[in-house]
C-alpha cells in the first residue's frame, strides 16, 4: 500500500510542478523578458480553468444529446459525473471534450492577453500592475457571483475525460500529459527567449526609446508577449481544472498571482531556467510544511507560517540576491548599472509625462 501512496504522491507533485512551470514560464516571458508586470496572472490562469468548468459539462451534454435541466450551480457536479460515465465507455468523447475546451481556453486567453497589453502603453509600470490586479480581482468576483458561469461559490464540476482508463493508468496518463505539455511549453519559451524576438523583448524592457529608434514596434512586441503568455497560462488552467476535477473561483485570487511571482523571482527572472527552479523550490517548501504540520503541535494553523516565511524569503532574495537562484546572464549589450540607470530615467520620463 505504501508504494501506491508514494506513487500518488509523486503524481500529485509532478502535475502541480508542470502547471507551475507553465505559469512561471508565462510570467517570465511577460515580466522577466518583456518587463510587463502581469499581475493578472491568476485571472489568465482562471480563464483556462473557467473554460473547462463552464464548458466541459455543457459540451459533453451537447455531444451526447443530453438535455440539462435545472440550475447549473446546483447540478453541475451531478451532470459532470453522468457525462464522465459516458466517457468511461467512449474515449473519443473524453478526448473531444478535452481538445475542445483546450482550444477555447487558449483562444480566449490570447484575446484577453492582447486586450490587456493595451494599457501597457500609457501607464507607468507600477500603475499598470495595479490596474491588472484590479482586473484580476474583478474577474474573480464576477465568476463568484454570476452562477451560470462556473457555479458561483459552489464551483463547477468537471468531466473526467480520462474516465475510460482505470486507476492507476488514468493518473499516469494525466501525469504524462501534464509533463509533456509543460515540457513543450517550456521548450517553446526557451526558444523564444533565445531568439531575436526574445532579444527584442529584453531590449524593450531595458530601454524603450532605444528599441523604438532601432525600428522595433513596441506595441506589437508587447502584444505578442502578452498573447503568448496568456495563452500559456490558460493552458495551465485547463490542466489544473482536469486534474482537480472541479473549478472554484476562490482558487484564483491575487495570492495565487503573488505565489507565481514569488516563484519567478526566487527562480530567477530573465533566465529561461528560472521557471524550472522557482516552482521546484516552492513545492519543496510547501510539501515540507505539510509534512511537519502533522508532527508539530502549534497554537495556530501552520499554513499561516508558511506564507509568512515565503514573504520573508522573497524580501531577502530581493535584497541580497535580486537575480534569483539562476540570475539572468549578462548580455553583450549594456552593463547592468547603466541599464538600471536607463530604466530609472525611463521611469522618470514616464513619471514626468504624467
Amino acid at each position: 500500500m505504501i508504494v501506491v501512496d508514494v506513487v500518488f504522491f509523486v503524481l500529485d507533485l509532478a502535475v502541480l510542478y508542470s502547471v507551475y512551470v507553465i505559469l512561471a514560464s508565462s510570467l517570465n516571458l511577460e515580466y522577466g523578458e518583456a518587463g510587463l508586470p502581469n499581475f493578472a496572472k491568476a485571472a489568465f490562469f482562471a480563464v483556462g480553468a473557467f473554460s473547462v468548468g463552464a464548458l466541459s459539462v455543457r459540451l459533453g451534454a451537447v455531444f451526447l444529446g443530453m438535455a440539462l435541466e435545472g440550475d447549473f450551480k446546483l447540478n453541475s457536479l451531478r451532470w459532470a459525473m453522468s457525462v464522465s460515465q459516458s466517457v468511461a465507455r467512449n474515449p473519443f468523447l473524453g478526448l473531444s471534450i478535452f481538445i475542445a475546451t483546450l482550444i477555447v481556453a487558449a483562444l480566449v486567453g490570447s484575446v484577453l492577453g492582447v486586450l490587456a497589453s493595451y494599457p501597457a502603453l500609457r501607464l507607468r509600470e507600477d500603475y499598470l500592475g495595479m490596474l491588472l490586479i484590479a482586473f484580476s480581482e474583478t474577474i474573480r468576483i464576477v465568476a463568484r457571483n454570476y452562477d451560470p458561469l462556473v457555479g458561483g461559490t459552489f464551483g463547477a464540476g468537471v468531466v473526467d475525460f480520462l474516465a475510460w482508463a482505470g486507476s492507476p493508468s488514468r493518473e499516469i496518463l494525466l501525469l504524462f500529459l501534464s509533463v509533456v505539455v509543460a515540457a513543450i511549453i517550456w521548450i517553446v519559451y526557451y526558444r523564444l527567449s533565445a531568439s531575436p524576438f526574445g532579444r527584442a523583448l529584453r531590449a524593450m524592457r531595458d530601454n524603450e526609446l532605444a528599441t523604438e529608434s532601432l525600428g522595433r514596434n513596441i506595441v506589437k512586441l508587447r502584444m505578442m508577449a502578452m498573447m503568448i503568455g496568456s495563452a500559456m497560462a490558460s493552458v495551465a488552467g485547463v490542466l489544473y481544472a482536469y486534474y482537480v476535477g472541479t473549478v472554484n473561483p476562490d482558487d484564483f485570487t491575487t495570492s495565487k498571482t503573488f505565489l507565481i511571482t514569488l516563484m519567478v523571482i526566487i527562480g530567477g527572472s530573465g533566465n529561461p531556467y528560472g521557471p524550472l527552479v522557482g516552482p521546484a523550490v516552492y513545492l519543496a517548501f510547501d510539501r515540507l510544511i505539510q509534512f511537519t504540520k502533522q508532527r508539530l503541535i502549534l497554537p495556530f494553523d501552520p499554513n499561516y507560517l508558511s506564507y509568512i516565511v515565503l514573504g520573508v524569503v522573497l524580501i531577502i532574495v530581493v535584497d541580497r540576491h535580486p537575480g534569483g537562484i539562476v540570475p539572468e546572464k549578462p548580455t553583450l549589450t549594456l552593463p547592468r548599472e547603466l541599464r538600471s540607470l536607463l530604466r530609472q530615467r525611463r521611469v522618470e520620463e514616464t513619471w514626468n509625462r504624467q
Binding site: P335, R336, E337, L338, S340, L341
Partner: protein
C-alpha cells in the same frame, strides 16, 4: 601676497554607473580667482562639477578642497566645508514658495542665525525680498537663478561652482548674472568655478581656465592665453 590653492584635482576619473565620462582630469583653482571650464557639448563639464560636489561616481583620483581631501565626502559634508554648487536645473523646489526654499536652504541653522544670513543675502540680492511669497514655479528663468543663488549663498560658501548659469537666459539677463558673479568674486572674495557655454565671456572674466574635450583636459592655464589660442579654439569649439 600668497597664492593659495583652494581646490586641487588629481587624476580624477568619474561618471555614472559603469561609464566613465571624465578621464584623469587634473587641475587646480586658486583662492580668490575666477576659473572657467569650457568645452564643446557633451565634453563632461557638468559631470566634472557633479563629481566635485559628490553627485557622480568617482572611479579614481583625488579631490582636495580647502586643505581637506573630500573625494569621498557626501554632498552635504562638502557643503559644510564651504563648497557651493549651483546646478543648471533642479536648483529650486518649484512647488514651494521662495520663502520656503530659503528656509530649507538654511535647514541646519537656528532661527536667529537664519534671519541674520537671510539679511546679508538680501543685501546682495535685494530683488529676492519681493519674491518671497511667490511659488518658485511661477518665477522667470532669471528670477529662479537668483533664488537658487540666494539659497547657495545662505550656506556661506568659500567657493561657488556654477553650471552654465546663463543658458536659456536673454542676453541682458545673462549679463546681469555675469555681473553678479564678478561682484561676488571682487567684492565678497568668493572663489568661482564657472562652467560656461559662452566661451568668449567665460574666458574674458576668468584668470585661469580649463578646456575639456571628450572628458580629457586639452588645456589648463591662463585664460588670456587660451582666449588667444586660435588653433585650440577653432579645432574644438569651431570659433
Amino acid at each position: 601676497m600668497f597664492i593659495v590653492e583652494l581646490l586641487r584635482v588629481e587624476s580624477l576619473s568619474a561618471g555614472y554607473g559603469n561609464m566613465t565620462i571624465i578621464h584623469e582630469v587634473s587641475f587646480s583653482v586658486e583662492k580668490g580667482e575666477i576659473f572657467s571650464v569650457i568645452g564643446p557639448n557633451g565634453s563632461g563639464k557638468s559631470t566634472l562639477l557633479k563629481a566635485l560636489f559628490g553627485l557622480a561616481r568617482t572611479f579614481s583620483g583625488y579631490i582636495f578642497f580647502n586643505g581637506k581631501e573630500i573625494t569621498n565626502f557626501p554632498p552635504h559634508e562638502r557643503v559644510k566645508n564651504g563648497l557651493g554648487y549651483l546646478p543648471q536645473t533642479g536648483n529650486v523646489f518649484e512647488g514651494l514658495t521662495v520663502r520656503e526654499n530659503l528656509l530649507l536652504a538654511g535647514y541646519e541653522y537656528s532661527n536667529g542665525e537664519l534671519d541674520e544670513r537671510l539679511e546679508s543675502v538680501q543685501e546682495f540680492l535685494p530683488d529676492v525680498k519681493r519674491l518671497m511669497d511667490r511659488k518658485a514655479l511661477t518665477l522667470s528663468g532669471g528670477e529662479r537663478q537668483m533664488v537658487a543663488l540666494a539659497m547657495v549663498l545662505l550656506k556661506n560658501p568659500i567657493m561657488l561652482m556654477f553650471d552654465e548659469p546663463t543658458a536659456a537666459l536673454a542676453p541682458k539677463i545673462a549679463e546681469e548674472v555675469f555681473g553678479r558673479i564678478v561682484k561676488l568674486n571682487r567684492e565678497y572674495g568668493l572663489t568661482v568655478l564657472l562652467v560656461e557655454q559662452n566661451t568668449r565671456r567665460a574666458l574674458e572674466l576668468a584668470e585661469r581656465a580649463l578646456l575639456l574635450v571628450s572628458g580629457s583636459v586639452k588645456f589648463f592655464g591662463s585664460a588670456d592665453e587660451l582666449l588667444n589660442h586660435r588653433d585650440l579654439l577653432s579645432l574644438y569649439l569651431g570659433l
